[in-house]
Chain length 498, copies 2
Amino acid sequence: MPATDPGAPTSNALAGGPAGPRALRPLTDTALDALTVGATARGGPLPAGGPDAVAKQLREEAGDLLPYRGEGAHTALRTLTTALAAGAADPAEPHCAAHLHTPPLAVAAAAELAVAALNPSLDSWDQAPAATALETLLAHTLAREIYPPAPGDTTTPDALFTTGGTESNQLALLLAREHHGPRLRILCGANAHHSIARAAWLLGLPQPTTLPTPQGILDPARLAAALHRALAPTLVVATAGTTDTGAIDPLPALAALTTTHGARLHIDAAHAGLLRLAPRLRHLVDGLQHAHTVTLDLHKLGWQPAAAGLLALRDHTDAAPLTWQADYLNAPDDTDAGLPDLLGRSLRTTRRPDAFKIAVTLKALGRTGLAELIEAVLGAAHHLATLIDDEPALELHATPTLTTVLFRPTDATDDDVAALRRDLLTQGRAVLGRARADGRLWLKATLLNPHVTPGDLADIPALVRDAHHARATKTPAPRTEDHTTREDSTVKEGRPAR
Amino acid sequence: MPATDPGAPTSNALAGGPAGPRALRPLTDTALDALTVGATARGGPLPAGGPDAVAKQLREEAGDLLPYRGEGAHTALRTLTTALAAGAADPAEPHCAAHLHTPPLAVAAAAELAVAALNPSLDSWDQAPAATALETLLAHTLAREIYPPAPGDTTTPDALFTTGGTESNQLALLLAREHHGPRLRILCGANAHHSIARAAWLLGLPQPTTLPTPQGILDPARLAAALHRALAPTLVVATAGTTDTGAIDPLPALAALTTTHGARLHIDAAHAGLLRLAPRLRHLVDGLQHAHTVTLDLHKLGWQPAAAGLLALRDHTDAAPLTWQADYLNAPDDTDAGLPDLLGRSLRTTRRPDAFKIAVTLKALGRTGLAELIEAVLGAAHHLATLIDDEPALELHATPTLTTVLFRPTDATDDDVAALRRDLLTQGRAVLGRARADGRLWLKATLLNPHVTPGDLADIPALVRDAHHARATKTPAPRTEDHTTREDSTVKEGRPAR
């Protein structure tokens, strides 16, 4: 292959301006072709071989990332996109179901292309005129879904866009710190996301007081006792959709306690918050409206490519501590003259409009379309749970609340479960997660693919059962009982490094 | 227009998997067509009319962002992409030159499409097998450019990917806090980026001690005196490429002082750091290699869509305080078994691989291609400075160091300068920035478009001179002397709301 390809003259073409789309079109064609080639080469949910083999393969395929002379746009894009796809754990593959790692909708991914081409940056209006207006509109729209107008309530809700649930939780703790000062104490369940404790560390706050959650949810009686003992201003953090099991804390009861005790309430609804938009499911997250702040995350049950996080605020004035002034972005006379002041809407400065893809998606699907997707994945989780319950070799942890199903081989130790998960990863057969519940380690399937079929689901118990049997009897898992959807296993056989 | 379009059945198609590219192709076509339509409608660097008019137009065009029934993928994508482009301040337009707001390369934008489709997330290996390997490779490649191997130096450098210079600076201060404890004092020039002070606030540290920088750079004599007075462990923050003027602090002299006084050194090289990759310019940022940490940002002189930030570390073990453990992502037995532990590489959890577009771009352009772009924009800045110096009605602040040119009408007050900038924005004629230097307010042109022509540059002084004259004489700027590249001014005339 020559060092440069015929497309080389376009290597430094810009994506924006009137000529941008002409430059982009052949390049997006190259990227899409390479995605197809890479997905076919992978032929399953992830590459086989494990981390070292995948890294070696990637290094060989990528070659020199900083050559003296460029290899041209098409060659570089084709080479690396093929490698990225061939080496992906692709959540659009039915057996890639470990994490709250969503398969993005095509319409959202296409919207990202427009954002990448225009590169609006939401740190000042003169870098993002329409994007500023669109973000404002979407923030108010989504904030009103979490905080519907209530009689007598004159506050206006708002929402801030973040890089995900973790940044939303950081912001929530920061706002609480600024409202209550460094004496603030944080109270959460052991089921809270790790980012709560990490945010406390980041912000120089004491580590949260963690209440045991043996049932997987924060018990109101336990919270009441802790609030009775509290000597300092307190932020209570509840969870709507835990990472490990998808459990939802009893939000109305917890909210009532925080009101009684004058505590501040943050709800991490990164997982379950979007249920507010699904009429048949929204009762599951009743109580969100009582929180001062709510973490949302549309790169989970919103089918967005990362990042697509929000922090909803019951009262938009609550964000005042984020006010920040930098003359080149929001000089007082510019603000007085009507240029929107955007710095106080984020801790970042340069900030891409993640609102755009979300807006395109919601407008494309509507409430009914989004609700159908959410219902589809909750339905898939219930169906998988039934299949596992029917499989004597497997034990189901519990009926799923959301999209998370925990299960394990009946005769396995915790070490077996952990090793079995790694076997499936290394063999390139399935991406399943792990979670500890009731003192034991479980395999975790998080079903976020709304197009998963009953056949795809039926494969999962069989795959796990057979892989466990193979481990137990120390035989390689039989290739003929490979229940994954891999269409051409010879491709993988010929690529042992994956 | 019907509520749904013929493309509606594809609205919930996924971007990934073997079928993803087939679903994406017609949607990317729609997005690219809409980008063209929108750019033509805009017909210049930004929409005319100012914030209220642009917001009104956007709201009318966007309609309901959360309709009961979806409008279909193509309709939603077309509608909102057209509105986003028509209402953009597009840095690919030659007269959009206010900020370090780069026009992205088409190849980088196309690479973003691949990332959006596959949605790798760098919080665990099993969400991003190849992306993990690629990020590691690029981190080491770029870290070695900042910290080349030195005789006797056995440390291995590394780099962490961030959402931009602001997050890089936050991380740098956090690592300093963790190394030295809360007694840490931060010492920086008045020319430092606002994110230094904001990060100190975020992290619960005292506000930085700010040394005056009347010459626009941090004077070593002043730093020496301050370090002599310092009673606590100190982090010195120097700047390579200020936001206001592009000035570069005297890095070797500052670095020598920090060594003498046992202080820690962070250099914010968000603007100028990439000069390390341009052989004829790298001497301008000599001294970076002496810093403990260096902020880089390829969404500035790297032509990447946001986000593309890094924090380079002279010693990879310096990142140890970021170590964090969450069983579902990096259980000890998984780490022991060889699964890469990624949580300690960021404060975020879900994290898109911004390394990918950077890697594609560097491989496409090579060192020589990137150096050509950097030299082109520095050359354009020098050329514009010459043109301004030759224009009697305008005053040039100084010969530019990087890509930033400050100038003002000779007979203008500071208020005139600020109002003139807003006039140009409101009229949709130019996006210029503002900066205070030597006690006066200046217009700021930040030239990041490598394809800007001498004619484009020649228009800028004329545009400013005429707009100032029109303000001074209270006449509307004459349309016949509109020097922008707007091809079809009738489009704009017909769209007064923009």
